[in-house]
Symmetry: C2
Subunit: 345 residues, 2 copies
């Protein structure tokens, strides 16, 4: 049994839940959520009771709040949906999970959940030896997105120039390191602020960084990518996507992973340079990591190996206390998180 449970919160005799109070318009606000308390659920026959321990914060969750996307939107008044890690603390004749096991799934912003483990995306055991934070970051949807985006959609080849935005973020930092250290690409990251840019180059080993807060991104892209851009791993959309499109090479691949610049706006930006895809015979392609579920073991094995070989630097930004979940979430959209945003309940 992994020793990760906090006895103080274990003693809690109510289930705190952050419910979706309203759908976001523009920037997400604390008013979109309301805190409620309910009884600790009793697992029905075949269910287990999970004590939620860690929450994962991901930009795509704003989409879940706002509208039907690749998954149905969260109903108003229901628990805010998010990936999480918890511990099975009770079982009502469930044959698959044992008390004391760490599990991961879409548990949401709450202290407890009773589940048969068969809901949306299902529930998986956290392999022994993997700490819960890594289960949500490097081995969670963000690390896995980086893996499949670089490999399958980016199809990066040695010697190519790879650019990634939100490069100090949970996905971008891993994507850039895989491109650089595994695929052998010249790798440039775009991030906000000197601390993040320093980390990208000095810790994560990128070839260069562009601070979009203080630098002319287009000019710097031209300087740092003198041979043009072969692969762009896009986490932000907006004008930066257009600046990259202006500089793509023949047969370039634009990997559409995220578009955080548009999540909190009602007037989304359209990349007017998209037509360079024709002149350069290039491709812009979206993907969702959920489609690759059958290949997660392959990805986890590879990422774990590279981590053990010290090829991947992992950066996490950890808040504490379920009461702070909305604040932790909003950091994503203000560029205030540095690495994977997590919360330890």
């Amino acid at each position: 049994m992994q020793e990760v449970v906090h006895n103080d919160v274990m003693k809690r005799n109510v289930n705190r839940q952050w419910l979706l109070n309203s759908r976001p318009e523009g920037m997400v606000s604390e008013n979109n959520f309301r805190l409620a308390e309910s009884d600790i659920p009793k697992p029905k026959m075949g269910e287990v009771l999970v004590r939620v321990l860690w929450l994962s914060f991901d930009p795509t969750q704003r989409g879940w709040m706002a509208r039907d996307t690749y998954v149905p939107k969260i109903p108003l008044g229901e628990v805010m949906r998010s990936f999480a890690v918890g511990e099975v603390i009770e079982s009502n004749n469930n044959p698959d999970y044992n008390v004391g096991e760490l599990v991961t799934g879409l548990f949401g912003w709450q202290d407890y959940i009773a589940t048969d483990g068969k809901g949306m995306t299902g529930m998986r055991k956290v392999p022994k030896g993997i700490p819960p934070n890594l289960a949500l970051s490097l081995f969670g949807i963000t690390g896995l997105s980086a893996y499949f985006g670089v490999n399958d959609i980016g199809q990066c080849k040695s010697g190519e120039t790879f650019v990634v935005s939100a490069a100090a973020g949970a996905v971008g930092s891993i994507a850039g390191q895989v491109a650089k250290k595994i695929k052998g690409c010249r790798t440039i990251g775009i991030a906000g602020g000197k601390a993040k840019c320093d980390w990208i180059v000095k810790e994560a080993g990128f070839d260069g960084a562009i601070d979009y807060h203080s630098e002319d991104v287009g000019k710097r892209l031209s300087e740092l990518c003198p041979q043009g851009i072969d692969v762009y791993f896009d986490n932000v959309g907006g004008p930066i996507l257009d600046m990259v499109l202006e500089r793509i090479n023949l047969h370039a691949r634009i990997v559409l992973c995220g578009s955080i610049s548009r999540y909190n706006t009602n007037v989304p930006f359209g990349p007017s340079n998209y037509f360079n895809l024709t002149a350069r015979r290039a491709r812009m392609e979206g993907f969702l990591v959920l489609d690759y579920a059958q290949r997660y073991p392959e990805a986890v094995q590879a990422l774990a190996k590279w981590l053990a070989e010290d090829k991947l630097k992992q950066k996490e930004d950890i808040e504490t206390g379920l009461e702070n979940a909305p604040k932790a979430f909003m950091k994503l959209f203000k560029g205030e998180n540095f690495g994977k945003q997590l919360l330890k309940i």
Copy 2:
């Protein structure tokens, strides 16, 4: 020897040439060209003299006038570049071409050209039995673009829904018919005006047409594509691209062939719904037919077979007289051409 030469123009003893006078800003105008006369060129050793007979007008030529694209821009004061068909009327010891043969190449807007056949894109013989107009339309870059776009980039499968814009145009009409009659797709065309829409359905056999002059394109797309859109063959860009992106299916392919709505504007439109490519795991990809030169014989053979089987209806819009070249060209950007725009010198 094919009997296509007009004796009257053959007797002309000067070489009329339309020169690029200025680069277009906004809509192409007649002032971008100026007509000049020069001596009929004398073929140097190894060259042939070609009497130009037919000109091909293609939207991409505006790009050639304006700026370096996938080919260098046309220098100011030089002959307007275009594909054409001509007849070899004199040879100065060229071993590859015989007097009397029809040839096609980038001869430009002029009566005569002396060439060794080795310039940009080279010179090819028009196969016996193929009339010069077909060599520029169905078997020219427009028909070939339709072929490779539908096959290689669209990867159309039977039963899918295929939408094409500029559907009564040189590329769109062939793309839609290949998708419908060869690939077995449900095929919807978007075109301007009742005559074009009638032709698409009644002559070309599409399942439906949308008149963007008089109909609400988004609403009609929803009506005519109740299962969503799997492949969009885009010749126009602009807001219609965005309306399609709103309605794409999982794993949809957007084939970027042209973007005529933007060629004459300095404030090009960016498709703000591009991010649906992620939610729908879809792809937007550009291509240029010039990259497929080695596979032209395969395409010409297939298109010729389908034409012989009466599966392809071919529509041409033919102007006459070299003096009318600018007017014929400008029709493309006003939506005034109906089918492939040609000019018979």
